[in-house]
């Protein structure tokens, strides 16, 4: 039953994703990619929860590596997206320095 429930969530979210993303203008496609990339670092949540005090040693090693990679993905992804979006300015916002 749980599998059905999770699949339900998955399918609905895919449709929601299509709706949301098709409204993003091509000007913002690069920030969209790096921003959604940061979101895909959500595996960090699972990775954190897998590093438990009663876990097997090899599980902890895999989990810690997963935490490192996912954190790079999350922190780097959001930071670089923010850096890019900062540069998008309208003309009356003093586009030229």
């Amino acid at each position: 039953m749980e599998a059905v429930f999770l699949t339900f969530v998955f399918v609905l979210t895919i449709f929601l994703g299509f709706e949301l993303i098709s409204k993003v203008p091509s000007t913002l496609h690069t920030p969209l990619m790096s921003g959604s990339n940061a979101i895909s670092g959500i595996t960090l949540i699972g990775a954190l929860a897998s590093v438990k005090t009663d876990s097997l040693v090899f599980t902890v090693i895999l989990g810690t590596l997963a935490v490192i990679f996912a954190t790079i993905n999350v922190v780097g992804g959001y930071a670089v997206t923010n850096r890019m979006l900062e540069m998008f300015k309208k003309k009356d916002e003093g586009g030229a320095k």
Binding site: A3, V9, H29, A49, L85, K91
Partner: protein, 459 residues
């Protein structure tokens, strides 16, 4: 569900809502930055509440987060805007490998998986593995550490098909009895890593926008599969959003090249250069900086059409400087951007934004083409195939049918180019021989600097 676990799951719902709002606000440059911050807040919330789970081993978690944050921050603030495609490829790959590691860790801890969990665990490892090794190859190609042209090996399709069949068989074999088949799981991981390499290596540099979009989608789907493994909704929601985003971008990129996804992935386009002497011939009309200056000086409207060459030459800042001088001279200035210009979706927009070009001056292909006849001068900077009129009027051309920016219809076209070498598609560009075209040879940055100097001395 115990009450702390329930509270954590409620917090995940808020995170999911913040991700969705964040993506929604990306639909306008004015709200995009706040949207990204909102999405980051959602992620932070999810991370913080997860840390309240019972029995976590904090020393390893802290170590992982500190190392990861340090690397992520340094990379994010050091990277040049022109190198953004390889940066995104790299981050994609890291997302993929973390899904793989997570699935592996879960399996190692609880080998007694149900058939369903067995399937999603191998899917998570498989997609994660492809994302990782595929992204590393894409990174290598984009940063020119390995040759960016398509590398074709004989029997490539057969090998890839065999790998794929092996992967499916292993998954089925594994899922039926996961507990005693640890080695099969490892085989699946290895197959995935190999497949990532063999499937991306035959794809050429200019097709990278498609590949990056697709890998972006995979990284989301891998996270999604990992979410199924650990039965966590937030991974599924976030992963599916990213998966959908990547699929849409992939579709847009394919459409902008008038090619199917299958064609991009399997054809090795651009690997074979057509025989010399093929294609249009004619007299070219070279121009000097002074000639170009007089043409631009007299123009009422100028449209810049940037391509990958602008990124290579790092010419975005001088281009904006020239644009400003033209505006001061009373000329209307616009920047027309083809959807696949550059090496990733939106690459040119980011470069021009970096150079302080206001985003209201950036126009899309479909908006500029109807006005093209009334434009005085088009300045093509380092773009080639996306302005090749053969796409419209030469049915035998390999790019026939691809939507282009129709610069050939402007009164005058100035093409900045290093030499007469053909573009990625390996075909000569009829635009260069057109009556209204002038070729301005040289490095894009140096050429534009010369024009800026002309303008400054002309005042």
């Amino acid at each position: 569900m115990s009450s702390p676990a329930l509270a954590i799951n409620f917090a995940y719902i808020i995170s999911a809502a913040l991700f969705i709002f964040g993506l929604k606000m990306l639909s306008s440059p004015a709200t995009a930055r706040r949207g990204n911050l909102l999405s980051a807040v959602g992620m932070l919330l999810a991370i913080v509440v997860t840390l309240f789970s019972q029995g976590l081993d904090y020393k390893w978690i802290l170590l992982g987060i500190v190392i990861g944050s340090a690397i992520g921050l340094v990379a994010a603030y050091k990277v040049e805007m022109t190198s953004m495609p390889e940066m995104v490829a790299l981050f994609n790959g890291f997302g993929g490998i973390s899904s793989l590691l997570l699935a592996w860790g879960e399996y190692h801890q609880h080998p007694e998986l149900s058939v369903f969990i067995g399937i999603v665990a191998s899917l998570s490892a498989f997609i994660g593995g492809i994302t990782f090794s595929g992204s590393m190859i894409a990174f290598g190609k984009l940063s020119e550490k390995i040759p960016s042209k398509a590398i074709i090996f004989s029997g490539q399709h057969i090998i890839n098909a065999a790998i794929l069949i092996a992967a499916i068989l292993s998954t089925v074999f594994f899922a039926v009895n996961p507990q005693n088949l640890y080695w099969v799981f490892v085989v699946i991981v290895i197959i995935a890593l190999v497949f990532g390499v063999t499937s991306v290596i035959p794809i050429g540099g200019a097709d990278m926008p498609v590949v990056i979009s697709l890998l972006n989608s995979y990284s989301g789907l891998a996270a999604c599969a990992a979410g199924f493994v650990i039965g966590n909704n937030i991974l599924i929601v976030a992963g599916a959003l990213v998966g959908a985003s990547g699929i849409i971008l992939t579709k847009i990129m394919c459409k902008a090249m008038n090619r199917s996804l299958a064609n991009v992935l399997f054809s090795g386009f651009g690997a074979t250069v057509q025989a010399k002497g093929d294609g249009p011939q004619g007299e070219i009309r070279p121009a000097t900086a002074e000639d170009v200056y007089y043409i631009l000086e007299a123009a009422d409207s100028v449209v810049f059409v940037p391509g990958y060459g602008l990124a290579v030459a790092q010419a975005q800042h001088v281009t904006r400087e020239l644009g400003d001088l033209l505006e001061k001279n009373g000329t209307e200035v616009m920047y027309a951007i083809h959807p696949v210009a550059g090496r990733m979706p939106g690459h040119m927009n980011v470069l021009l934004a970096e150079a302080n070009v206001p985003y209201d001056q950036l126009v899309e292909m479909d908006d500029i083409n109807p006005k093209m006849d009334s434009i005085d001068v088009c300045v093509v900077i380092g773009a080639n195939d996306v302005v090749n009129p053969a796409a419209i009027n030469d049915e035998s051309s390999s790019i026939y049918g691809m939507p282009i920016i129709e610069t050939h219809r402007a009164k005058t076209v100035i093409v900045l180019k290093r030499s007469m070498n053909p573009g990625f598609a390996g075909i000569q560009n009829a635009l260069f021989f057109a009556e209204n075209a002038r070729m301005y040879f040289g490095d894009a940055k140096a050429s534009i600097q010369a024009l800026v100097a002309e303008f400054k001395s002309g005042d």
